[in-house]
Amino acid sequence: MTDPFLILDLLLAGAVIALAVATLTVRDLFAAIVLFIVLGLLSALAWVRLSAPDVALAEAAIGTGVTGALLLKTLHHLRYVAGTLGEQTAHGVTPVTPVPMSVIWANAAFCGLITLGLAIAFLDAPLGGPGFDALVADAIPASGVDHGVTAVLLNFRSYDTLMEVVVLLAAVIAVWQIERGLSEAPSPDLSVIWQGFARLTLPAIVVVGTYLLWKGSEAPGGAFQGGAVLAAVGILLLLSRLYVPRPAHRALARWGFVLGTGVFAGVALLVTGGGRVTFEYPPEHAKTLILLIEGLVTVSIAVTLAALFHGREPVAVRAKEARHDA
């Protein structure tokens, strides 16, 4: 009899492809976003099957969770602005001229050709082939942490990781530059039950985020996953308007955004000297330094992701400008 896990893999793969098609073809945008979120969850499951729990965690927390919240918020904003916020809403939100079917089919055929070429190239490549396995195994004892992915992210390729945090910083600066103003939307009417929920869950989420961060040095977890889970707290606070950003909070927020990048880059520079180059942590302090960097980067990631969700610099703007920013 066939292995049930093979059936599982085939089913998951089929579901992922079908969901990808459905995300782009379903008429209602809200449905498209929900399908996309489900697609993210199923991809995370697939990555679990490929023994990549770190990636599954990151995808679930960032690629699906925070992204889903962002997409829902944007859709809500667009429909609010367009004045079509209702149960049965317009399918798209931006005015479009319909594309002729011929163009779509030509594009699809073109992309089909690309797929074919890529599939052939993929099958041609040596699967389970060369990699960094041996190099990483040799270098892990000197890295200061026991978990491969964390060692790669924060030691072997920490330059990449620094730049990744810089990308987040660039994003939040760009978003603040694009949008501004205070949220004018009324407080949502959430009942007592929600308050009980918030009182119980918010601290629990904080604990889970910290746990993920702390666990990263020996098992799947780490700064990005922990930061994303902490960002979920921020998103819940913003959504329920338990916290409302004010212009006075801007300075603190700015410090929050640059804290992780600043410390990361600062440590990278401070360890130089005595024959060591940038990013070369002294082996005896490597673990401490990595934990320090991870901790502060987590804080920055959480603040930044929450700010990206909020999506505007909290400044007082003139009434006319603010009208449609709500």
């Binding site: 893999d9 793969a13 492809i17 990808a20 995300t23 782009l24 945008l29 498209a32 976003i33 993210g40 490929l50 023994s51 990549a52 990636v55 990151a58 995808e59 960032i62 690629g63 962002l70 997409l71 944007t74 859709l75 667009l78 602005v81 367009a82 798209g92 939100v93 931006t94 479009v96 319909p98 163009v103 779509i104 594009n107 699809a108 073109f110 992309c111 690309i114 797929t115 890529l118 099958l123 699967l127 389970g128 990699g131 960094f132 990483v136 992915v149 992210l153 072997f156 390729r157 990449d160 990308v167 987040l168 994003a171 939040v172 978003v175 694009i178 949008e179 999506g311 009208r323 920013d325």
Partner: protein
């Protein structure tokens, strides 16, 4: 039929679907979704490339790369969505 083969082809298909969507989709939000699909496909490919037949452990480097890619992608998405929101606000103002 090993998982890497199945999911590798899945990744390529998802990437291609996203590519088609990015070229054809007209709605601004839908184009963002299409681009997210592309990044998901690339993630699949890298995770598959890292997979080794159990009990061998997978290569951690591509995993780290995918995590970086996910974070980079949400930054780009956030900026694109902020642009879309702002643009919609400005366009709505014009219509009044």
């Amino acid at each position: 039929m090993t998982p890497d083969l199945i999911y590798g082809l899945t990744g390529i298909a998802v990437f291609a679907i996203g590519l088609t969507g990015a070229l054809c989709a007209q709605d601004r939000l839908r184009r963002v979704l299409a681009l997210k699909l592309c990044s998901l496909g690339a993630g699949f490919l890298l995770v598959v490339a890292a997979w080794r037949e159990p009990p061998a452990a997978p290569d951690p480097v591509p995993h780290a790369l995918v995590i970086t890619g996910i974070v980079v992608m949400i930054s780009a998405t956030a900026v694109a969505l902020a642009l879309i929101r702002r643009l919609q606000s400005l366009e709505a103002e014009d219509d009044d």
